[in-house]
């Protein structure tokens, strides 16, 4: 009654980016599965490296970096694959990998949802730089041992490879991450530890596709965006900034998931282009595409 809420937003408006994102994650998984399931080999391999339509190689750049420091050489195929993948994320946002591709994100989002339902307090808050240190450790240990170290335990490839090639005891990793995020630390794995996310974050440090708090004056301080954001610290400068400070969320940790756009009742956020003119409310049209 008291609230001066804007016109009620439709279910689609409230779930749009989440729906698109889940569809993307499942579609990518599906493309790897139609081979073994239906003998349609558009994609062969897994997220570590793959071959598309029997011609285009894709390779995870983080694995290539580890292999390079381990052996001092990589093949042209692996390098081309890594450059293609890295180039894509440099443009659209490094952690787009996290919110639009990585299968673990589905697990950690589920954990977050569970934790909220059960009203579990935030728990352990690791050092903000910890994931970077872990990433550095992966590279250093690979160089030291001459092997691709993170791939021994990497939940990202482990889960996806497990689904495509057979899981074995990989479910233990899935369960551990889920429990860790529910019980030990809020957004613990993806928000604080995962070195793969940290690596992709670095790739997207200057990416032009960003979320912006274009209509930040309309913010009614409900806090829904902070509640839903996997990396809430990235929102503050853009949303709470005044005057000339940029409305664009420039922090590399932002995953471009668009969940803030979905949940904001005041329609403060939208996808924007980082460079050039400051994105403003002038175009509050909610049909902008993330490209």
């Amino acid at each position: 009654m008291i609230e001066t809420a804007p016109a009620r937003r439709s279910l689609w408006q409230r779930q749009r980016w989440l729906t698109l994102r889940r569809s993307s994650q499942l579609a990518i998984l599906g493309l790897f599965l139609i081979g073994p399931w239906f003998d349609i080999w558009w994609a062969k391999g897994n997220l570590a490296a793959s071959l598309w339509f029997d011609t285009i190689p894709l390779t995870d750049p983080m694995i290539v970096v580890q292999s390079f420091v381990a052996l001092g050489e990589v093949t042209a195929t692996a390098l081309v694959g890594a450059v293609l993948v890295a180039g894509f994320y440099v443009m659209v946002g490094g952690r787009v990998f996290c919110s639009w591709v990585c299968p673990v994100n589905i697990i950690t989002d589920a954990a977050h949802w569970t934790r909220q339902r059960l009203r579990i307090p935030p728990g352990w808050r690791p050092h903000p730089a910890l994931r970077m240190w872990l990433l550095a450790m992966c590279v250093a240990t690979s160089a030291w041992t001459g092997t691709i170290v993170w791939e021994l335990v990497n939940p990202v490839t482990l889960v996806q490879r497990g689904i495509v090639f057979g899981l074995g005891f990989g479910w233990i990793i899935i369960a551990s991450i889920f429990l860790f995020d529910v019980v030990v630390s809020r957004r613990g794995w993806c928000g604080h530890l995962c070195p793969v996310g940290a690596f992709y974050g670095i790739l997207g440090v200057a990416s032009p596709v960003r979320i912006a708090a274009v209509a930040r004056e309309a913010c009614s301080d409900c806090g829904d965006c902070f509640e839903v954001c996997p990396e809430p610290q990235v929102i503050t400068p853009a949303l709470r900034g005044v005057d000339q400070s940029t409305r664009v969320i420039v922090a590399r940790d932002c995953t471009n998931c668009g969940r803030c756009i979905d949940v904001c009742p005041d329609e403060v956020f939208r996808f924007a282009w980082r460079y050039g003119a400051e994105p403003t409310v002038a175009t509050p049209e909610r049909t902008n595409k993330p490209s």
């Binding site: 062969k44 190689p57 692996a78 690979s142 090639f165 057979g166």
Partner: protein, 225 residues
Amino acid sequence: MSNGNKLPRSSEHSAERRRFIAGTAQAAGSVSLVGLLLASYGEQARTHPVAALRPPGAIDEQDFLGACVRCGLCVRDCPFDTLRLARFGESMATGTPYFIARDVPCEMCTDIPCAAACPTDALSKSLTDIGDADMGVAVVTGTDTCYSITGVAHCTACYFACPIKNEAITMEMKQENGKVFFVPTVHREHCTGCGKCEKDCILPEAAIKVLPRDLVSHDSGAHID
């Protein structure tokens, strides 16, 4: 007055610095710990079960674990479903390809599609003749069970299974107490370790097994042609 103001501020400052240093040291310590655990886990994964054979063209195990990106493209292009990727929990590096000869041996494809599919140098493209492959070496381990050797029957299953019979394996005639035996005999310089013989051995526990070459011969596994 100014002194009074300064003191608490600087002690607050140094307390903050101590906290910062402690936090950083803690993070660095835990990260190093994780690194050490990973390194030792990797060391363990390096010695995998002897029954697990790498695909043809696989480079030296140490380098293999630095080169193989665990993509499974070799697995996909093997027409005989010989290869599989190690699952988490198996006692070898997660995601790396192997085969168990007794389950599905390598059929020694002349075009070596597995190695051709490999995007890295884990399976070396310098292997062009599958006859030069060195996945292991067959050894007659069941000298007390092999039907041919014990004279129960003139079996020859392993001999006929071998894609390069008469080179890699022969049945050597042996006479004892007026009885004639034919003894399966592997010629290590020609054996590729494909495992066809092990697969076809008619005994419940194969009397001929493919073992890693360095376990069998001590002259560094040089492959003589």
